[in-house]
Subunit: 513 residues, 2 copies
C-alpha cells in the first residue's frame, strides 16, 4: 500500500464547521446517527469561465480518513462550547471512527465536469455528516489550483517551462504547500518552495533576488574569486577575468556593484548562470552586465541559462533585451548559439491565489438515506441535486476522444457498453437527447476506502502525467481558454425519469381553490 | 512571557523559496554571510482599493523565530537539490540560529499605511535573507484577511454580528485556520471553524445544513420526543405539542419532513432555536415551519433566535419572511416581541479568499548593509525603497485623531515632539510639505526580538479590541469603503534629503557626448 505523506497536523476531525457537531448531536438525540446515508461531493460550475476542472485533493482526503479520530482534548473543548449537550453524546463522539465508511471517487487528476460526483461517501449518517467540511476543504482549493495550473499550461504551450513562485502570497504555510503541490499536479514543472520539494519530491528552482544584487557594493566584496574552468584544468581569478571580458563586450558604463553581484553569483553557480537584471536599469546595466558575465563563463566552458525580468513592461523589455543580445559583436555572437529566449515563466500571486476565481464551489449533498433517495429542491434549477446512488461513465468516440459523461443509477442494468447504442439525456431539458455508440467505456468511480484504504492514490508525478495525457486527448473545444464549448454531462434515461418523478413528487402541484 | 500557540508544524526554515538558499550559498562563498544587514518589510498599496490596512501575523512571526532551526533531514534534502555546493555551507546552515537577529515591528493590529515598515529586521545578511519568504508568507495573508474583515465590519455597522463561515473554501486546513483567526482580529464576532475555536479561543457558532433537513423523512424519525419546559416543570411530547401549535399558526400545508427536522433540532437545542429555511421552499414551507416550531417553543418558555437564509435573493426573501412574520394572528404576534430581524451575517467565500483582491503585496527590501544605506532603484517611482534604518511616528491632532505618519532616520535628533512644529514631506513631490504641531506623538515601532523574544504580542481578543478602537478613532474619510481619502505618509526633512541625495548618486546624469 502506498504511503501518503502528511502535509499538515491540523487535519483533525475539528477541521470542521460547528454545525456539523450540532447536527451530529441532533441526529444522536433522534437516534438517527447510524442511519445509512449516502452523500455526493460535486461542483455545479467549472471555474475561471472554463469548461473543465482538474480533480485534486484525493491524496489528502485518504490521509484524513486514516487519521480520523476525536481525541480527549477535542472532546474537552467541545464540551465547553456545547454545554447543554448530554455526556452520552461526547462518549459517542470519542468512540467514532470511519470503519463503516465507504468512499468512492474519480481518480486523482481526472479532468472532470459539473454534476459528476468527485466523491461519494456512504456510512453512518452522523459520521459522514462530520466528513463534509474537511472533505470540501481538502478538495475545493486543490482542484481549483490544479485547474488554474492546467490553464497556465494550456496558455503557455508545451515548450515553456512553468515555475510556481507563490509561497509568499499564499494563505499561510499550508496554503503555500497546497499551491505548490497542486500546481505541479496541474502541469507546472517546478516550484520555488523548498518545503514542498522536500515533502513531495517536486523539483525546486531559484536564483537570486534584488536584495542579493544590492547587497554587493564593489568588487572587493568578493573574497574568493578563484574559478576553475568547466573541465577543471585551468584556474582563473574570475573577477579579473570578467573585467577583461568586459573590455571585449564593451559594456563599461554599467553599474559596478551589480556586476560584482553577478560575478559573486556566477562563482557559486558557474553552470546554468541566470541573472535578475532589473535592480538598477534593465537595458543600460542589467542585461549588459549579464552578457559580460555570461561571455566570461562561456570562455571557461560554462553555459549560461539567461536573464530574469521581474518588473516593468516584460514584453517590451524582453524584446529590447534580445536586441542588445543581437548586436553583432564577435563576443556576443558566440552566445547566440545558446538560444537566449525567454522560455521560462515564473508565476506567483495570480497562480496561487487563483485571482480570476479564488474558490471552487464544491458542495456535499445527501442523496439517499436508509435506501430512500433524497433531493434538495431549489427554485434555481442548477441547484437541484440528483438523488440516489449513481455511477459515472465516460464514453469515447471512434477517435478515442471522450464524447460525454453519463450518470447511471447504481446497480442498474441500463449501463453503457462498447459498440451498443446508449440513450443519454440532458438532466433538465426534456428534448435534449443524445444516442452514443461508444468505442470505449470508462467507469469513472472506484472504491478507495471500505472501512480501510482499498486502492492506492498514484504519486504526484504519475497524477501530473495523467493530467497532461488527458489535456492532449480531450477535444480542444472544451479546453479553449476564452470561448470553450460545454462538455456534455448526461443522465441515463432511467435516471432521468427517476429524478423527474421524485422532483414532481416533492413539489406537489398548486391546488386551485 | 506570553506563550504563543503553534498553528502549524510546517513553519520550518524550509517554508522558503529556493533562491534564498542559493543566495545564502553565494553570500557564504563571498564571505558576506555575516555582514550586518537591515531589511524593511512593507507594502506599497493598500488592498481592496482602500486607504488602510490592518497589520496581522506578528504572533506567527515571533513563533517562527522561536522555532527557526534547520534539522539534519532538511540539510540532507538540500544537499540533493544543490549538489555542487560545498559541505562547509551545509555545516554552516545546520549551525544557524536567530540569536543575532533583532526584529522591530509595529504593534499587532495597528491600522497601517503604505511605505511604513511593518517589520524591520537586522542581523547577519544570510540569516535575515533566509527570513524573507517565511515573514512575507506569515504577514501577507493575515494582514489582507484582517483588513478584509475590518472592511466587512465597517460595512455592516456595530449592531450586526459577523460570523466567518469560510472553512470549506480556504486554501487548505491552515488557510482556514488563518482565515478564522485574522477575521476575528479584524472585527468578526465568531467563526464556524471548530479547530480555530479550540486553538485560539475564538467563539464558534453553528446550526444545521440542508442535509440535516433532508435527512428527516417524517415525524417517526424522532425517537425521543420528550421536552421539558424552560423551567423544568412540565414535560411534553414535543412532536404532538408542535402539531397542536401548528393548528394555531395555521401553517398546515408545509413540508412535513422539514417540520420534523426542525422539531428534531429544537429538541436538541430548545434555547436559541435557529432554522435554515430554504431546503424546500423558503416562503411556502421553511418560514412557516420555523414559526410553528418557534411558537411551540415559546409556549414552553424558550426564546428562538431566528431563521437562516442561504440561497436565493436574500434581500427580497428576508423582506417577504418578515411579512409572513407580520401576519397579525395572535400566535405569531407574541413572537414579534422577540424581534425577528436578520441581524447576523455569515460570510464565507468572499471573506476568506479575499475575492476582491486575493493577495497583499508586501515586500522585503535590503535598506542597509554594514552601516551603508542601500536603495533599489526603479523606473516606477512607487517602487523605490527608502534607504537606511528608520523609525515611524504617528502624529495626532487636537481632537486626538491621527493626522499623519512620518518616517525619521533612526538615531536622528530631528524627531517630532508634542507641541512642537515638525516639517513633514511627501517622499516624492518636492513641493508637498506639511507642518504639524502634534498633540500626541506615538512611536510605531518597538523591539520584539533581540536574540530572544523581548516583548509580548497581546492576545487575539486584545488585538481585536485594539483594531476596533482604532477604527473608531481614525478620521472616517480614510476608512471610507468606496471613496477613501489617502492618509499622509511622510518623511522628515532630513530623511527626504537623504533619500533624494542617494537616489541621484545612484542614477548618474546622462553624459552628453
Amino acid at each position: 500500500m502506498l504511503k501518503i505523506k502528511t502535509t499538515n497536523s491540523l487535519v483533525t476531525p475539528l477541521l470542521t464547521d460547528k454545525y456539523q457537531l450540532t447536527m451530529a448531536y441532533a441526529y444522536w438525540k433522534s437516534e438517527k446517527q447510524n442511519q445509512d446515508a449516502v452523500f455526493d461531493l460535486f461542483f455545479r460550475k467549472n471555474p475561471f469561465k472554463g469548461e473543465f476542472t482538474v480533480f485534486g485533493g484525493l491524496d489528502e482526503v485518504i490521509k484524513f480518513l486514516h487519521n480520523f479520530k476525536f481525541q480527549q482534548d477535542d472532546i474537552d473543548y467541545l464540551k465547553t462550547t456545547m454545554p447543554n449537550c448530554e455526556q452520552g453524546f461526547f462518549d459517542y463522539l470519542l468512540s467514532l471512527d470511519v470503519s463503516k465508511v465507504k468512499l468512492f471517487a474519480i481518480d486523482h487528476g481526472t479532468i472532470c465536469f459539473p454534476k459528476i460526483p468527485l466523491v461519494r461517501v456512504q456510512g453512518p449518517l452522523a459520521v459522514v455528516q462530520l466528513l463534509e467540511t474537511p472533505l470540501l476543504n481538502l478538495i475545493n482549493y486543490p482542484s481549483l489550483m490544479a485547474t488554474n495550473a492546467a490553464r497556465f499550461k494550456l496558455a503557455s504551450g508545451p515548450k515553456v517551462t512553468l515555475l510556481e513562485f507563490g509561497c509568499r502570497r499564499a494563505q499561510g504555510p499550508d496554503g503555500a504547500i497546497s499551491a505548490s503541490k497542486y500546481s505541479f499536479v496541474g502541469g507546472f514543472d517546478a516550484t520555488s518552495h523548498v518545503e514542498a520539494g522536500k515533502l513531495f519530491g517536486i523539483p525546486i528552482q531559484g536564483t537570486h533576488a534584488h536584495s542579493f544584487v544590492s547587497s554587493y557594493m564593489d568588487f572587493s566584496d568578493i573574497k574568493n574569486p578563484t574559478l576553475k574552468d568547466s573541465k577543471g584544468e585551468k584556474e582563473v581569478n574570475f573577477v579579473e577575468f570578467t573585467l577583461e571580458a568586459r573590455k571585449e563586450t564593451g559594456y563599461l558604463n554599467t553599474n559596478d556593484s551589480e556586476l560584482a553581484a553577478f560575478i559573486g553569483y556566477a562563482l557559486s553557480f558557474p553552470d546554468g548562470f541566470l541573472a535578475l537584471v532589473d535592480t538598477y536599469d534593465t537595458l543600460l546595466s542589467g542585461v549588459p552586465n549579464f552578457l559580460t558575465v555570461a561571455y566570461s563563463l562561456h570562455k571557461l566552458g560554462y553555459k549560461s541559462v539567461g536573464i530574469r525580468l521581474d518588473s516593468g513592461d516584460l514584453a517590451e523589455l524582453s524584446k529590447q533585451s534580445r536586441k542588445i543580445n543581437d548586436i553583432n559583436e564577435p563576443a556576443i555572437h558566440k552566445l547566440n548559439a545558446n538560444n537566449h529566449e525567454i522560455n521560462v515563466f515564473g508565476i506567483g500571486t495570480h497562480l496561487v491565489t487563483c485571482q480570476a476565481q479564488p474558490a471552487l464551489g464544491c458542495v456535499f449533498k445527501l442523496v439517499e438515506i436508509d435506501g430512500v433517495p433524497r433531493i434538495k429542491l431549489s427554485n434555481e434549477l442548477i441547484k437541484i441535486t440528483i438523488p440516489g446512488k449513481k455511477e459515472a461513465y465516460r464514453l469515447f468516440g471512434k477517435d478515442n476522444q471522450p464524447l460525454l459523461d453519463v450518470l447511471v443509477k447504481t446497480d442498474s442494468e441500463q449501463i453503457p457498453k462498447v459498440g451498443e447504442r446508449f440513450l443519454c439525456r440532458d438532466p433538465a431539458i426534456e428534448s435534449k437527447r443524445m444516442v452514443v455508440t461508444p468505442s470505449k467505456v470508462v467507469p469513472l468511480h472506484s472504491c478507495y476506502w471500505d472501512g480501510k484504504q482499498v486502492k492506492d492514490v498514484p504519486s504526484l508525478a504519475e497524477t501530473r502525467k495523467f493530467v497532461l495525457q488527458q489535456l492532449e486527448n480531450i477535444n480542444p473545444v472544451h479546453l479553449d481558454l476564452l470561448k470553450p464549448k460545454q462538455y456534455p454531462v448526461t443522465l441515463s434515461d432511467e435516471l432521468y425519469h427517476f429524478l423527474h418523478d421524485l422532483w414532481l413528487k416533492e413539489q406537489p402541484p398548486i391546488e386551485l381553490k
